[in-house]
């Protein structure tokens, strides 16, 4: 019953909620980002990060530091925290936490299949995969030639199996089909997650609906913009949009027929929450659009912490950490390539 979760939530979820809120207090603040943006070398970054919670993970790294090492160690911290929470969780929180990984699994599957298509070595690809999305038998994805084999050999044993029903075909895998496969899988995953949250009810359903609807709408806009000028037909494009969210169904009708970014902007400006995002764009700069979407997402994720006794804080924390790792990667790349003037182009402050 909505409003009375406070009476029974703490039986199973109280300890973990308190832990995740403790982790949240360790997110980097604007002051930390200012210090990091003023670093001259990657060793300076390492020194600044040792004073934060990333200290134990970075202090043993030898001196010629690479950007990928920093990102890898920070991701390792996130994975450790996630595994710690997952092992302590009971149903339904454990299922909820598992759902958070499926997005990464989909990205890893697509990474390996694309890499194999371009004849890269499997070991090298496995190192680039996100650790949260690893599963057994992921390496045998390199063997598959078309989607039916992909499903039959590897994916039928993974949690992604139910998402494949819409995209099994005997076509060979090429770049276009892989992108379509990625978006179809992600659509099925988002809808499944949405249904699961609705079943949980209460504050979790309300907050997660908002967050997932924003995610679905953002992906719809990105799919539209990325498929302008490609061979993707309007019907195929419409099939990739999720069936929930603020844009469903009328926004999707308008987006499906868009042929350039100004038409997209015209379609989106009818929705007040997205009007502010699109008003920041001048003409056709997609990097600013990405940053604007990230800022909006971070604002909504921070709001999830305002309420107690629900599961959306776990989802919000994972997403905020991932945003922080993206920020660190951007800052490290700018410092490593001596382009410090561009540092603020893509860093989204969380607090």
């Amino acid at each position: 019953m909505y409003g009375f979760e406070a009476m029974t939530f703490n039986i199973h979820g109280g300890y973990l909620e308190a832990i995740v809120r403790g982790h949240r207090s360790g997110l980097l603040t604007a002051a930390d980002y200012n210090n990091l943006c003023q670093c001259e070398t990657l060793d300076d970054i390492k020194m600044h990060l040792s004073a934060t919670e990333y200290g134990p993970y970075l202090q043993n790294e030898p001196s010629p530091l690479y950007t990928t090492t920093i990102v890898e160690k920070c991701t390792l911290k996130l994975v450790d925290e996630y595994n710690h929470m997952l092992t302590q969780a009971t149903e339904p929180l454990s299922t909820f936490l598992e759902y958070i990984r499926y997005g990464h699994m989909i990205d890893n599957v697509v990474l390996i299949v694309t890499g194999t298509l371009h004849e890269r070595d499997v070991q090298e690809l496995l190192e680039k995969c996100h650790p949260l999305g690893m599963f057994d038998s992921i390496a045998s994805l390199a063997v598959a030639q078309n989607m039916r084999e992909l499903y039959r050999l590897v994916l039928v044993d993974t949690p992604l199996a139910p998402y494949f029903s819409e995209c099994i075909s005997s076509e060979d895998l090429d770049d276009m089909n892989i992108e379509i496969m990625r978006n179809t899988l992600y659509k099925a995953y988002l809808e499944d997650f949405y249904r699961f949250c609705q079943k949980l009810g209460g504050a979790t359903a309300e907050i997660m609906s908002d967050l997932l609807a924003f995610e679905a709408d953002r992906r719809a806009v990105n799919i539209t913009i990325n498929s302008i000028g490609t061979e993707l037909t309007r019907d195929d494009r419409r099939k990739l949009y999720s069936n929930f969210g603020l844009l469903y169904p009328y926004g999707h009708e308008e987006l499906a027929v868009c042929e350039d970014i100004d038409q997209v902007r015209g379609a989106m400006e009818k929705y007040p929450p997205y009007q502010s995002i699109f008003s920041k764009l001048t003409y056709g700069e997609s990097q600013i659009l990405d940053k604007a979407f990230y800022e909006e997402e971070v604002k909504r994720l921070c709001l999830a912490f305002e309420q107690q006794f629900h599961y959306a804080v776990f989802f919000a924390y994972m997403r905020l950490r991932e945003q922080e790792i993206r920020n660190l990667m951007w800052i490290s790349e700018c410092v490593a390539q001596n382009q410090k003037s561009r540092v603020h182009d893509s860093v989204v402050f969380i607090f």
């Binding site: 406070a6 009476m7 039986i11 109280g14 300890y15 909620e17 308190a18 832990i19 207090s25």
Partner: protein, 175 residues
Amino acid sequence: MVASSSSWSQALVQISPYTFAAIGIAISIGVSVLGAAWGIYITGSSLIGAAIKAPRITSKNLISVIFCEAVAIYGVIVAIILQTKLESVPSSKMYDPESLRAGYAIFASGIIVGFANLVCGLCVGIIGSSCALSDAQNSSLFVKILVIEIFGSALGLFGVIVGIIMSAQATWPNN
């Protein structure tokens, strides 16, 4: 015997007043302890988790647990007071109106105290959980949220006061 026209009211007045009194005493202590325990586990689980990252909050936030415990103590005190009100009357007077009144008064007193303490314990527990989590993030919030908790614990006190007044006029007929 009380004049009655329906079989239900006849059945109710045939129940011994001691039954009602004893059930009232049981409810006063049993349900109060339920409320206190509920509040303590709600606060305790959040406090343990939050204290991992912020160990300084443990000693101050035990106040929330103490407020919940006070609720159980109210229940014990009222149960002891109520059981001193139970007196024996000869069986000829057991169904006198005054006897019935005494039995019902003790019953009502027990219910008042039990359920007031149940909701008070819940209230203090939930606020205590939020207090621990907020204190871990920002220590200036502790005292402010404690004020809310103090108002919450006054609810149990109201129940105790009314319960004791109620039971004070539970006089059995003279032997």
